[in-house]
Symmetry: C2
Subunit: 299 residues, 2 copies
């Protein structure tokens, strides 16, 4: 919202790899007007790490004072990263999904999908959750993780059944090709495409993105590494049009939300530095407050 008002800034994203080109390093940086902080987040993806008992995604955020340029905090943000991504999505779902949306479909069974289920239930009357796993094993693991964390019992279903049933569909995969057919999508559905965050990544059919009411977290970034890159590259949408489709503009009331009950809405999240800064700052304040009260107890 401060980004849409010009009070925040997102700097270009850097993508690199380890000497194994399948190990990714992403660096997101920016300035957040709401907290008065600059921030730099280094995020890593190393999908072989489950074999080592290590996390496949790590995030570390540096918070830097906007006035003095001093380093204020180094925040281990593995958990925060999932939280901030789901938090942005909840803002989108809250504005874009139909009020009566009750069936949630999930494609992707990684850590982010659990955060999404937990978060979306807070803004819509979700009565049913379907998930389409890649294998029976990953489906069972995922169902257990969701139940342990949220109490929700999910239904494991095929990709097609999941998409066809979903009032709200959330994709959280590292896919590089559309995950499903455009015509499987229900009229009136809302889709949150959370996975695309690099050149070449893609979760949705291009015709769906081009024809839906599209919203993106940050147009400049979405056009390069988000789901929107494909409609821009195909010449189906200009960057100028995309600049008028930001979540911030929606939240600030500058652009309209869902047009009618039959519209299909899409939120394209590539994840932006101002989210990382705000999340790290919030975590720091909680820790600082907790330490303060502990010091009071011991003194």
């Amino acid at each position: 919202m401060t980004l849409d008002r010009g009070e925040s800034a997102v700097f270009p994203v850097v993508r690199g790899t380890g000497s194994d080109p399948a190990h990714f390093l992403g660096v997101k940086s920016g300035r957040d007007g709401s907290t008065g902080m600059l921030g730099v987040k280094a995020g890593t993806t190393n999908l072989g790490n489950h074999l080592r008992g290590l996390e496949s995604h790590t995030s570390t955020t540096l918070l830097i004072d906007d006035v003095t340029s001093a380093l204020i905090a180094v925040v281990q943000a593995n958990y925060l990263n999932g939280l901030r991504t789901a938090a942005a999505d909840v803002l989108a779902v809250g504005r874009l999904a139909r009020r009566d949306a009750s069936t949630l479909g999930v494609i992707g069974t990684g850590a982010q999908a659990v955060f999404e289920i937990e978060a979306i239930r807070t803004v819509r009357p979700i009565g049913r959750v379907l998930a389409a796993p890649r294998s029976a094993q990953s489906g069972e693991d995922f169902a257990k993780r969701v139940r342990d964390r949220t109490g929700v019992v999910i239904e494991i279903a095929s990709l097609e059944d999941t998409v066809r049933a979903a009032d709200i569909l959330v994709t959280t995969t590292p896919s590089k090709a559309p995950l499903f057919e455009h015509d499987w999508v229900k009229p009136g559905a809302h889709i949150s495409a959370m996975g695309a965050d690099n050149v070449g990544k893609m979760e949705l059919p291009i015709s769906l993105v081009a024809s839906a009411q599209l919203y993106v977290d940050y147009p400049e970034q979405a056009a390069v590494i988000g789901e929107a890159q494909h409609v821009v590259n195909a010449g189906l949408m200009t960057i100028e049009v995309l600049r008028g489709r930001s979540l911030g503009a929606l939240l600030n009331g500058r652009i309209e939300g869902r047009r009618d009950e039959a519209s299909i809405t899409v939120f394209d999240s590539s994840g932006i530095a101002v989210q990382d800064i705000a999340a790290a700052q919030a975590a720091m304040q909680i820790v600082t407050a907790a330490e303060g009260s502990r010091h009071e107890r011991v003194s």
Copy 2:
């Protein structure tokens, strides 16, 4: 050197500002084959900080394991940054300056200049150091800092006298225009331009850079934010030619050094992530070793 051999990588530099556009944030990242680490350095420049009693430049480096992508260390690199910059310069001066170079000229009287004087004395028989300060006050302060740290008594001189006398000239300023005239430079001089590290920064006359034997720390970066940007932008040198002028290629013996005793050589340093990673790793090893011996003593 590992960069020149393709065993290391430098990712694109990010430049942003605080809400005050004179406060800079720079993010350098890459992968260093010699240490097996990826690294991200966040550097800040806030020249108003001397009024607050705070450092005008800060650096924080994250070290990330190339194999596991795990965060290995967070290194406060304010001091290291000066050291690594001078260390790279010493490699250049050691290969490029005449063996008999004995007069060192310094333009710029900030923290980096002190590191440069200290370092260059280790590779050439420096008998005389001239410095051209912006004001009498800054000259006195600088002379005291150099004396306190290195024992060297410097001579304060005009810009022209400093340049004309120098066998080795080092510039460490945030200038955006040439600091001196091309024809003041002695035949056979070596010049290390350490200041340019952003679009628009410039310390040397463009004719000097175009006609000298030019070497750069990293061609892709030098062409955008280094001194070399101006010869490339003016069409006086192609990026292809620049790719054959790296310090790594010189150190690896792939390109020649000083052609003859009358040649003017220029080293254009914009500072690269692999230097930050190697410096942070070295610091971490020293600290780890010191902690190990302390633990031995107390156990």
